[in-house]
């Protein structure tokens, strides 16, 4: 049976369904008898979820995906015009 070290080493591959069947079965057998590794796996999954959600705006932070600030549009227009003119010289 796999050791805790092997389970934790292969955890991402297990979650991503990248382990061959025999190794996956071995992994599952370990989880059945090791609450510590089960806890670790749950907290690892939670870590991934939390890091993805950490990028969501907190209260008061700007998030308006559909719009680009008008001043930014003008700044880009100006910068591109300038860069294009410089290239033509």
């Amino acid at each position: 049976m796999m050791t805790c070290k092997e389970v934790l080493d292969f955890l991402m591959a297990y979650i991503d369904n990248e382990l061959p069947t025999d190794q996956r079965d071995d992994f599952d057998r370990h989880l059945k008898v090791c609450p510590s590794c089960v806890n670790y796996m749950k907290s690892y999954r939670e870590t991934v979820r939390l890091s993805r959600e950490s990028a969501l705006p907190a209260a008061g932070e700007v998030e308006c995906e559909g719009s680009v600030p008008a001043e930014m549009i003008e700044a880009v227009r100006h910068a591109i015009r300038h860069a294009a003119a410089r290239e033509k010289k």
Binding site: T3, C4, K5, E6, L8, L11, M12, P35, S36, C37, N39, Y40, K42, S43, Y44, E46, T47, V48, L50, S51, R52, E53, S54, A55, L56, P57, A58, A59, E61, V62, E63, C64, E65, G66, S67, V68, P69, M72, I73, A75, V76, R77, A79, I80, R81, A83, A84, E87
Partner: protein
């Protein structure tokens, strides 16, 4: 936008999101190559919102995010001749934005970093964990104040990761790049990206562990 939609990869493999997309894109790229400022503004209006969302995710700072997108638009203009049309222009621009964000992060003041080894699980000789892992008990309560607290805590802990690991985590779990795309941006092999991502997640788990077990004040 719903929180769920925001948690998905933002620009991975997207196009312009308009009808008759292929023709519209081809015509737009032609005008981009001609350095038509209006074409760049059009591109910015079409994809700028999503690019800003990616930049905000990676930089956690509105001003830096806007700067990064502007820099990406200029880089797009400068390098448009290298766009080979094999990917969609949105995907190409996404990579440029991600690169601009990485450059911005790297230019921020550096502080001494802790070793990743200190944050990885340890084992005794027979392969068991040196210290058993306990269950996480902290629960989020709705999307209000406590959700924000946890979010800010996670951001702080991500910032504590060693730079090379933080970058991989940002590209894969936050900007939503595939392993292949992250490997290309970082100039690494795909397997190395996978290994580094796994370690980054393990290290972040270790950094969050005391608070999530309820043993540490926020």
């Amino acid at each position: 936008m719903t929180p769920r939609a925001q948690a998905e990869p933002v620009l991975g493999g997207v196009g312009l999101g308009v009808s008759g997309e292929a023709e519209v894109e081809a015509s737009l790229v032609e005008r981009l190559r001609a350095k038509d400022p209006d074409a760049y503004v059009e591109l910015l209006k079409l994809l700028g919102g999503r690019m800003l969302a990616v930049a905000r995710r990676m930089l956690n700072n509105e001003e830096d995010a806007r700067d990064a997108v502007q820099e990406a638009m200029l880089a797009c203009c400068k390098h448009i001749d290298t766009f080979d049309g094999r990917s969609q222009v949105g995907t190409w621009l996404h990579r440029i934005v991600v690169n601009a964000c990485l450059m911005k992060r790297r230019s921020r003041s550096r502080r001494p970093e802790r070793s990743i080894e200190d944050l990885l699980p340890t084992f005794v000789e027979d392969g068991h964990q040196t210290r058993s892992s306990s269950a996480w008990v902290r629960q989020e309560v709705g999307g209000g104040g406590s959700g924000d607290e946890l979010r800010l805590l996670v951001r702080r802990r991500i910032d504590e990761l060693p730079e090379g690991y933080r970058e991989v985590l940002l590209l894969r779990d936050i900007a939503g790049l595939s392993t292949e795309a992250a490997a290309e941006v970082l100039g690494m092999k795909e397997n190395a990206v996978k290994t580094r991502l796994h370690r980054a997640r393990q290290a972040l788990r270790a950094l969050l562990d005391p608070a999530m077990r309820g043993e540490e004040a926020q």
